[in-house]
């Protein structure tokens, strides 16, 4: 099947989609400078600012997380491509304040390189910036080799917790510690059932044979794991959840956040079935499904499949998760 997308000139895709995104969320977000996504009502300067960067084509991520209680600025790159360091340093300068800036970086080669160069420059310029790296994809590396682990939808929980902490007036070091704790507490695994097309090139991103699913596929279709026959919703949860629980060493009595992130064409209907099974499994282990989030947050165009992210919550993280947010992709009252 050829690509069937309603787009205009691929060369203008990202600026056009950002223009539409800002329109759709007028009153919440706006574009500033070289297409940085900022809040329309900025956070007061005595509070820590949160900045992130990442490729486009994953809407609503990451710019959909800009808002009160979450991000101050997102730096959207080209489709599936990290923004270059000049726009990242531009964002850091814009966010700069005495209270400091926390840069959230998803572990993908381009993102960490852009972040590193921008961080080096920021340090030279005397900006008060610290960085947290999210790398919770258990399919691409072990806990002992965190550098190998990609950053998937877990960034949302990190941004939510640190964003709420910043809003409450926590210091940069406190926000960083909260972000790092949430990051350490979480693990993600993805399953893909059908591929997608690159909106600019028309290339097939992941070719997945009929009746097959792939557990552990990355955000851009990079293969990373087990090709197996398509399973039921329950069986899929039975395969994915235990390895995630093992990774975070979940124990009876633990309280978990579970996020099910649809990556494109997989329906909410299916994700609800999976969540239902997760609750059954957790109950069997004496673990509490304390919070859940089901929806499309970090997509890969029209790919079929989802990311399952589990995170151990403590009282503080739970309260931060529950804190208000007006980000377009996650409004919490």
């Amino acid at each position: 099947m050829a690509m069937k997308k309603l787009i205009n000139d691929p060369a203008n895709l990202v600026p056009e989609l950002l223009e539409g995104f800002a329109l759709a969320n007028a009153g919440k977000v706006a574009l500033q400078g070289s297409n940085l996504v900022v809040r329309t009502s900025p956070k007061s300067k005595d509070k820590v600012a949160l900045v992130t960067l990442g490729g486009s084509g994953h809407e609503p991520a990451l710019s959909g997380f800009v808002g009160e209680g979450m991000l101050d600025i997102s730096v959207p790159g080209e489709i599936f491509a990290a923004p270059g360091p000049p726009r990242v340093i531009e964002a850091l300068r814009l966010a700069n304040r005495e209270a400091g800036v926390l840069l959230i970086v998803l572990n993908h080669a381009g993102d960490i390189m852009s972040a590193k160069i921008a961080m080096d420059m920021a340090k030279k310029e005397g900006l008060n910036v610290k960085q947290v790296l999210t790398h919770e994809d258990i399919s691409s590396g072990s806990r002992e080799n965190p550098d190998d682990r990609r950053g998937l939808v877990g960034c949302l929980a990190v941004i939510k917790a640190a964003g709420a902490a910043a809003e409450q007036g926590h210091s940069l070091d406190e926000c960083l510690a909260i972000a790092e704790r949430m990051e350490r507490n979480m693990a993600t695994l993805a399953v893909a059932v059908s591929g997608a097309t690159h909106p600019c090139t028309g290339d097939v991103i992941a070719e997945i044979p009929e009746d097959v699913m792939v557990v552990g596929m990355g955000q851009h279709g990079e293969a990373g794991g087990g090709t197996q026959s398509l399973k039921t919703a329950d069986e899929t949860a039975d395969i994915m959840l235990p390895v995630l629980l093992e990774d975070i060493q979940a124990k009876p009595g633990d309280e978990l956040l579970v996020m099910l992130n649809g990556v494109g064409s997989t329906t909410l209907m299916e994700l609800y079935l999976v969540l239902r099974r997760i609750k059954q499994i957790l109950e069997g282990k004496g673990i509490t499904l304390a919070r859940s989030l089901v929806g499309e947050y970090l997509t890969v165009q029209e790919m079929g499949g989802f990311q399952m992210c589990v995170a151990r919550l403590d009282e503080e993280l739970k309260a931060l998760w529950d804190a208000p947010s007006n980000a377009p992709a996650l409004t919490v009252k």
Partner: protein, 214 residues
């Protein structure tokens, strides 16, 4: 053949690199689609467009600001791994040319060495890891050896280009340990690394560009 490299020569070299990439961008994307996300050719095209724009716009005369502007422009490409690494190459070369408006071949070799060091500060990838490092390291080494052996800049760049090409070709047999292609593990063996191929094309362009000027 002049004994020093001026802005004109460098401009030719850079435009030469852009020309080589432009000719081969589809092949580069094809290589990237095996283990990566298939965008390397597009990214390199954008990098080279930015490079040429920077040359055209570069107000300040002199090698150092020229390479700074080119590096900054390439950093500005939203291109995953490529932009930061290649941008850093030129930015670091620029830094090394402080006070050297007309470097001689040895100074030029030193600038390339500084560029390589800058890149290596951004990535832990070593020769053999199937990345652009596999082309960049032998190219810079060959440049240094030739210059030390008395070659002029065109000849030194030719040897550098040859070394880069061999380095890139050798990546075919390697397993990727960095970049997206590392995720497909042993399946990456058998395909030449796109980034290394780009570096090899750029050195070919440096050489051809320097040569036409000579």
């Amino acid at each position: 053949m002049p004994e020093t490299i001026d802005c004109n020569t460098m401009t030719r070299m850079l435009r030469g690199a852009a020309a080589e990439i432009r000719e081969q961008h589809e092949m580069l994307s094809r290589l990237d689609s095996v283990g990566g996300d298939g965008d390397h050719g597009t990214t390199m095209l954008r990098a080279m467009a930015n490079l040429e724009k920077a040359i055209d716009a570069s107000a300040a005369p002199g090698l150092k600001p020229l390479l700074y502007d080119v590096g900054w422009a390439i950093l500005g490409v939203d291109g995953g791994a490529t932009g930061p690494l290649l941008g850093t190459l030129f930015m670091s070369m620029s830094e090394a040319l402080e006070g050297k408006d007309a470097p001689n071949p040895a100074e030029m070799a030193a600038a390339f060495e500084a560029g390589l060091a800058g890149v290596q500060a951004q990535t832990k990838a070593q020769v053999g890891d199937k990345t652009m490092i596999d082309a960049l390291v032998p190219a810079v080494a060959a440049l240094r050896t030739s210059v030390n052996g008395g070659s002029d800049i065109v000849d030194a760049l030719r040897r550098a280009a040859e070394a880069a090409e061999q380095g890139a070709a050798a990546t075919r047999e390697l397993q990727a340990r960095f970049g997206r292609a590392r995720n497909i593990k042993e399946k990456s063996i058998g395909t030449q690394d796109p980034g290394a191929t780009s570096v090899s094309l750029m050195f070919k362009g440096f050489w051809k560009g320097a040569e036409t000027h000579a």
